[in-house]
């Protein structure tokens, strides 16, 4: 058996502790030694205050049970996003299908055919998690495989710093070496990183460096996508709870200068104010992605690989995807030229994922009609990438979202976003005409009574937490 190889994770954003825990858990100690260099300051962590449902699988893979996670990270439950001021009326984008796809045809096609274009404004009424969020009640989905009540999913609002701490603890339990220090200097041979000099004086050397410092270590090609309408600076705040009721959605609200995001966890709210002007906020940023995320012996994850605004919890979700992809391609032995094929494949998939998310965000900005108090704000979306233009045009033409090779595709989230922004397709899928009025009415009436009945029996969100998984300092117990 050949000597162990070394992985060094250069920490700095939450991706560092996620990588340390995940790789520490999965990589055989007989082959790889994992070291986490932890500067103990998390950059941009507030962007990770909301998660996508996929985080549950991440915690499970680490052996962190749900109550443990929730109490360590002060987490509350999250059914989706609430967009306020982005379309003609506020709308929800939740983690479930909306309505029922009768005969396999999408619900919005049925709604359009049966009840006309105006009925599409009621689209979100037919989603159980939307009604749950509106009523402020929560129960996890039924595990009995029943339609509707088993078919929704949830993520979390969390305290990223607390979560990172819990992850680092897990990493240490997986024998990851934890060094609390900051990288001070790097030595390179061409594009290969030879050594890292730490502030504590030690010099480290690795076969693979995972750069989770929040910024690239060297000059690298970056595809900025600001012109799709992204903001350019932000300021983060932590508040005491702003409401007596513990919310179930991340609240995205438009402002004169950009927009705000509010994420309520068990202890209080993490709020981000995003500004279109790069000078206004405390931190400047440029949305976009690094083209070659894995180059030579350096793999960028987290903010060093892409800056993705946190719609639908995408920021945190993307870090998890990157780690899962890395594990799925992890080479038996690190080092070029052996790992060339894995790197090429990793970068191919990473670019595809980034471009897909860019298109989602681009269409979000391009299709929104931002307003405050009824006054329309200028739409800053200056350009739409061709692939995004094609998707938007197709939806406008016939209410259809084209998916080709997109994986992990946010499948259910396109239609609520586009309908929520007031886009009304010109045509609909004619297969909807094969369902008659009676069948449609029966299906929707029984859906409505199921939703009402289910919600009636659900406890309030804060009561559910109080009973099952209140963290220390839970602020909604009163």
């Amino acid at each position: 058996m050949s000597a162990r190889q070394t992985l060094i994770i250069l920490g700095g954003d939450i991706a560092g502790s996620m990588a340390a825990a995940y790789l520490g858990r999965h990589l055989p100690a007989s082959r790889f030694e994992v070291i986490l260099v932890d500067p103990s300051i998390l950059e941009h962590s507030s962007w990770c205050a909301a998660s996508h449902p996929n985080l549950k699988a991440f915690n499970r893979a680490l052996g962190i049970n749900e109550v443990d996670f929730i109490t360590s990270a002060n987490a509350s439950f999250r059914l989706g996003d609430y967009y306020d001021g982005w379309g003609p009326a506020p709308y929800h984008n939740v983690f479930s299908d909306y309505g029922i796809a009768i005969g396999g045809t999408a619900f919005h096609d049925h709604l359009r055919h049966q009840a006309g274009e105006d009925a599409l404004a009621q689209y979100e009424h037919y989603a159980l998690p939307v009604r749950m969020a509106q009523a402020g009640v929560f129960t996890p989905p039924s595990t009995q495989n029943h339609p509707i009540i088993s078919d929704y999913d949830y993520g979390y609002h969390l305290d990223p710093t607390a979560y990172a701490g819990r992850l680092t603890q897990a990493a240490i339990s997986f024998d990851v070496k934890h060094i609390q220090s900051t990288p001070k200097a790097y030595t390179w041979s061409e594009n290969k990183l030879d050594t890292v000099m730490l502030s504590n004086g030690t010099e480290l050397c690795a076969d693979l460096y995972i750069n989770a410092s929040g910024h690239p270590l060297a000059e690298t090609a970056f595809n900025a996508w600001t012109e799709i309408g992204c903001a350019q600076s932000y300021t983060a705040y932590a508040h005491e709870p702003q409401s007596k009721r513990l919310g179930l959605s991340s609240h995205f609200k438009t402002t004169q200068t950009g927009w705000t995001l509010s994420c309520p966890n068990q202890l209080g709210d993490i709020e981000l104010a995003f500004f279109d002007n790069p000078e206004t906020g405390e931190h400047r940023y440029e949305a976009g992605y690094t083209q070659q995320v894995w180059q030579a012996n350096v793999l960028n994850i987290g903010f060093s690989s892409a800056i993705i605004e946190p719609f639908l919890g995408l920021t945190l979700r993307t870090i998890q995807h990157d780690l899962e992809r890395l594990l799925a391609l992890f080479p038996a032995r690190l080092g070029l030229p052996d790992t060339l094929n894995e790197q090429v494949e990793y970068n191919r998939l990473s670019n595809a994922q980034h471009e897909y998310l860019r298109d989602y965000i681009a269409i979000h900005y391009a299709s929104s009609t931002k307003s405050i108090d009824g006054n329309l704000l200028p739409n800053l979306s200056a350009s739409l990438p061709p692939s995004a233009r094609a998707k938007l045009d197709m939806f406008k033409a016939r209410g259809r979202i084209n998916m080709l090779d997109e994986r992990d595709s946010l499948r259910g989230n396109w239609v609520p976003m586009l309908l929520g922004h007031g886009i009304r397709p010109e045509r609909y899928n004619l297969m909807a005409e094969d369902v008659d009025v009676k069948e449609f009415k029966e299906a929707t009436l029984s859906l409505e009574s199921l939703i009402i009945h289910t919600i009636e029996h659900m406890p309030r969100h804060e009561d559910f937490i109080k009973r099952r998984c209140a963290a220390k300092g839970f602020n909604y117990g009163g």
Partner: protein, 503 residues
């Protein structure tokens, strides 16, 4: 009902393409009250040579409400668990590409990595991947029964399709469609008239002078592409530089021995030969490249290798592998051979017809056939065809055969970049670069790689989480689980007979 709606559809050509299209249209879009006319000529033979299918066909039949036992009876069908490939990696090899996975994930690592590790350990274990596939072991033992309903039961972990007489399938669909209002017209199309203002097809004229108008035309006229190629002048993407075979000679013969639940594809000097077991006879065909063997030699080779006698003369076919440059142009959709051709090495003929139909129905347009619909449809069909093409190409290049000019030629084929990348990645690491669109997912690629001798150099390091000492037992246990499950399955022949009795 939307204004500007299509009211009449004219299908040119029968066969599986024409009648599957007609049957699907009148069922799935019943509410459109379409006037559907299918024009076919008895004089123009359809290319019916006995066909193997993919599991997707079952969902097509289900959607149409067709009963499985009945359709199997009517089409002389047998069950299909996969395809046996003989002499592909090297002469003497035999592997099966099954409808199912290999082994199951252990510690979330795909099973085949453990096989690679065992092979490298030099362990005294069965490292043939076949033993870890239920459908393969069942096929080899001549067993079949429908998959178990319980997803936790190992007997649920496979799929199946049919081997049938495609012309009988089309015949069945004629009755099905006519009963639902489709008008069948006997005749040959003589002329196609286009609208001057937009080049859309207006009408077709038959030999007998009859004029048939339509809003939408489906070209199922076979290789000649009466509408899409001859009238609308849409060209063809020739893929001979990837897949050189351009001829087939076919013949049916009597059955010898038991009816096995799989198709066989045997690599030969200048191509490959199929054997498709039907209930009443066996279908055979030699697919070859005319640059490397003459038609007579090919026919001779086919006839001399038959398992039993035949009373019929072999039929000769010519084709050009490729795809129509656009399968939907103006108000004409080309389905079947008019839309492109890929040799039946992996039973994709009817599958591509079904893909075309279901994709089109999901995007059924308004009368003006908007460009946005057509472009989207064409992109999906292009990808579907290309992905099948690349998978077929894999069979020809993942081989050490060089024993004839044909095989030497195959070794020199310049691969598409995506296929080159897939093969490089697999050889190095055992990872399959997967794409979402495409008929053949990871398990299919694994079957061909391992079956044709492409064993990866590397394997997933996480297999190390299982101690060396435990690996042999894990593999042996799984092998035994499969063997035990297969032993509980009935013989394919008996199962067929029972079904025929309506059991």
């Amino acid at each position: 009902m939307q204004t500007n709606a299509i009211t009449s559809v004219v299908i040119i050509g029968g066969g599986t393409a024409g009648w599957m299209s007609a049957a699907a249209l009148c069922t799935v879009l019943k509410a459109q009250n379409l006037d559907i006319t299918l024009i076919e000529s008895e004089a123009i033979g359809t290319v019916g040579v006995g066909e193997a299918t993919l599991p997707h066909i079952r969902f097509f039949n289900e959607k149409l409400g067709i009963d499985e036992a009945e359709i199997m009876r009517r089409t002389q069908a047998t069950f299909k668990l996969g395809i046996e490939f003989k002499d592909w990696g090297k002469i003497g090899d035999s592997y099966i590409h099954p409808f199912g996975n290999f082994g199951r994930d252990i510690n979330r690592v795909p099973f085949h990595h453990y096989i690679s590790r065992a092979a490298q350990m030099g362990a005294d274990m069965d490292t043939h991947i076949d033993a870890y596939s239920l459908p393969i072991m069942a096929a080899r033992a001549g067993k079949f029964e429908r998959p178990h309903k319980d997803p936790k039961n190992i007997l649920s972990t496979f799929g199946y399709a049919y081997q049938f007489d495609a012309s009988l399938y089309a015949k069945y669909l004629i009755g099905f469609a006519e009963k639902r209002g489709v008008t069948r017209i006997e005749g040959r199309v003589n002329d196609v008239s286009l609208r001057p203002e937009d080049g859309f097809i207006n009408a077709v004229t038959l030999d007998n002078g009859k004029v048939i108008n339509g809003d939408l035309f489906i070209d199922c006229s076979g290789f000649r592409g009466l509408l899409i190629a001859q009238a609308l002048k849409i060209g063809y993407k020739d893929w001979t530089h990837y897949l050189p075979c351009n001829r087939a000679v076919t013949v049916a013969c009597d059955h010898k021995g038991l009816r096995v639940p799989f198709t066989t594809a045997t690599a030969k000097t200048a191509g490959w030969q199929w054997r498709i077991p039907l209930q009443h006879r066996t279908g055979n065909g030699y697919v070859y490249c005319s640059d490397f063997i003459s038609d007579d030699e090919a026919a001779g080779s086919l006839m001399s290798g038959l398992e039993a006698k035949t009373n019929t003369e072999p039929k000769h076919l010519r084709f050009t592998t490729g795809q129509r440059a656009k399968t939907w142009h103006k108000n004409c959709v080309a389905i079947g051979l008019s839309g492109g051709f890929l040799e039946p090495l992996e039973s994709t003929g009817i599958f591509l017809i079904q893909e075309a139909i279901t994709t089109f129905l999901d995007m059924f347009p308004s009368k003006n056939c908007p460009k946005i619909d057509r472009d989207s449809y064409n992109r999906i069909m292009d990808l579907s065809f290309e992905r099948v093409r690349d998978f077929l190409l894999l069979h020809y290049v993942a081989t050490s055969r060089d024993d004839s000019p044909f095989w030497k030629h195959c070794a020199s084929i310049k691969l598409p970049d995506s296929l080159r990348h897939k093969m490089d990645l697999f050889r190095a690491s055992g990872r399959v670069a997967s794409y979402e669109v495409g008929a053949f997912k990871d398990p299919s690629w694994l079957a061909v790689y391992y079956g044709q001798g492409i064993i990866p150099r590397g394997y997933d390091p996480m297999t190390d989480l299982m101690p060396d000492a435990l690996l042999p037992k894990q593999l042996e246990d799984f092998k035994q689980t499969i063997a035990r499950a297969v032993s509980t399955m009935p013989d394919h022949q008996d199962y067929l007979t029972q079904m025929g009795r309506g059991a």
